[in-house]
């Protein structure tokens, strides 16, 4: 069974999807008009504004969020040698949620919310890593530290929600936590774009060596890998991807868990091919889902709710397949 080598082709998958997404909306736009708006051709000013100022930032954010979550999820599954984890394992989402909630409580400005969420996410993982490092930096220790930090930060988030104004701030926090891209405007893309550029290009270059982190620590050491340093660098880059995504989109579940498996089913587990494929599939998927979220009903469906509705049944299928492959639960 030789695996196909079109992983790089998958990386192009988001392009047509993005183009279609730009056409769809409450005000449908023809392909010609979208093309004209994108390339600076002749088109009505209102259409150009709609495509470039309203839809493109949102669709672009969706693509980056999808790529980031998928790549980070794939990497985390390797680093933690567990096919059933994703990038939120180490407390990034509870940290980001707490940061966002504090920002709503104190400032209520979107830019501040994004900055606080990003900082909170990084701080959550930093706390986990600190605990993990103190207890020897093993994989299992990190996971346990992640559970601790996640649970603790969620409790603190509970306090913030309890203290929040139930008519103004609390709904804002709740809606943010549900996840969605409806509030995205062009300036929000800048920090997300920079973080994604750093994280995604790092993993694009480093991708083959992620394979080595799936080995037992001693095996990897014997192959000359400095396991602890490498693991923390890779987890750090993954956290950058997830925190920047979550700070814009709120909590979008399942993408980071399921997309890597979909990509693996097509190109195999070798990270040299897996990471480009996961990035392409993740970006395309979230663009599609976000387009559904903003067009299916007259009211916006929270993106996180949509991924949750689709994710749980897909996860069941995946889990049954996993059991069959391993011949049962070990």
């Amino acid at each position: 069974m030789r695996r196909p080598t079109f992983a790089w082709g998958v990386l192009l998958l988001p392009l047509p999807v993005v183009f279609l997404a730009l056409m769809v909306g409450r005000y449908p736009i023809s392909p010609g008009e979208v093309w004209a708006a994108l390339t600076g051709g002749e088109v009505a000013e209102v259409v150009r504004a709609l495509v470039l100022r309203i839809r493109l930032p949102r669709v672009g954010a969706a693509a980056l969020v999808g790529a980031n979550l998928a790549v980070a999820g794939a990497v985390y599954q390797g680093v933690f040698r567990n096919p059933l984890v994703e990038g939120r394992l180490l407390g990034v989402s509870s940290g980001a949620g707490l940061g966002a909630a504090l920002a709503f409580l104190l400032y209520r400005q979107p830019v501040v919310v994004q900055a606080f969420a990003f900082t909170g996410g990084i701080a959550g993982v930093a706390l986990t890593s600190l605990l993990g490092w103190a207890f020897g930096a093993g994989v299992l220790v990190l996971v346990i530290a992640g559970v601790l930090v996640d649970s603790f930060l969620s409790a603190v988030l509970g306090i913030v929600k309890y203290a929040a104004d139930p008519l103004g701030t609390l709904p804002a926090i709740t809606y943010w936590l549900l996840g969605g891209l409806s509030g995205v405007r062009a300036p929000d893309l800048l920090p997300l774009g920079i973080a994604s550029a750093i994280g995604l290009s790092f993993f694009l270059l480093f991708r083959w060596r992620v394979n080595l982190l799936t080995l037992a620590d001693q095996e990897a050491e014997a192959l000359g890998v400095r396991v602890r340093v490498t693991r923390f660098l890779v987890v750090g880059m993954g956290t950058l991807l997830v925190a920047s995504a979550v700070s814009v989109s709120g909590i979008v579940s399942w993408v980071g868990l399921l997309v890597p498996h979909a990509a693996r089913a097509v190109v195999g587990p070798d990270y040299a091919r897996l990471l480009p494929a996961a990035a392409g599939v993740g970006a395309a998927l979230v663009v599609v889902l976000d387009t559904v979220a903003r067009t299916a009903l007259t009211a916006e469906i929270p993106l996180g709710v949509l991924t949750g509705l689709l994710g749980a049944p897909l996860f069941l299928v995946l889990f049954l397949r996993f059991l069959r492959e391993r011949g049962g639960w070990r």
């Binding site: 069974m1 480093f206 991708r207 394979n211 037992a216 095996e219 014997a222 192959l223 693996r264």
Partner: protein, 257 residues
Amino acid sequence: MTLRTKDLVYAYVPGRPVLRRVSLDLRSRETTFLLGPNGSGKTTFLDCAGGLRAPGEGEVLLEDHPLASFSARQRARLVGYVPQFHEPPFNFTAWEVVLMGRAPYVRWLSQPSARDRAAAAEALTALSLEGFRDRPYYTLSGGERRLVLVARGLAQGAAFLLLDEPDAHLDPANQHRVLRAVQEVVAKGLGAGVSSHSPNNALLYADRVALFSSGEILATGVPSAVVTPPLLERAYGIPFVAVGDGNGPRAVLPSLT
């Protein structure tokens, strides 16, 4: 070349050393078997000799250079390690597993080169595994998996290979395949250190044997001189008899009482 260990002391728990002043030389073109009961220090010795654990006292020298003075990457180009188990979380193919052996040659932000691929292909060929190239690791039998790991060690291009119980949990035919493969790469110039629980395999495949007991080496020498009932009884604590055909022992068995 010689991978020399001098007066190694190692303790997992302070005050209870599992290695007590162990000195042993592994040489190129030689298969050295490490025998001894569970907990006698064989695996810890391999870890220290491979640079994966820093001994509390004593030193490991490659020729005359302390192994600890090499970077992890340089060390991995000199001493390879074949673990007893390898349980990847994903179903990598044999080829992908073997290619990972090239890790010490692939720079940080780059991918395996044509040379790395050639070396991995050569390692597969050396162990007659070409047909398994694209087989997922989980579909391989125990013996085939062990051979793939030996191939990965070979792809590493090291001068010494340390193998942790490569004959454990294998049927006799597969034990033979794996240890014969080790013999063949040793004949081409490598040095091998093999820990094992089978004195009979030592008689069949070793050039030299070191017999461990309670963190010390009881005896070192050619198999026929070390794998003898009196020495084995001192190491394992039960009586043995040797079965032979006049040219020295062919096998040893626990003597029934």
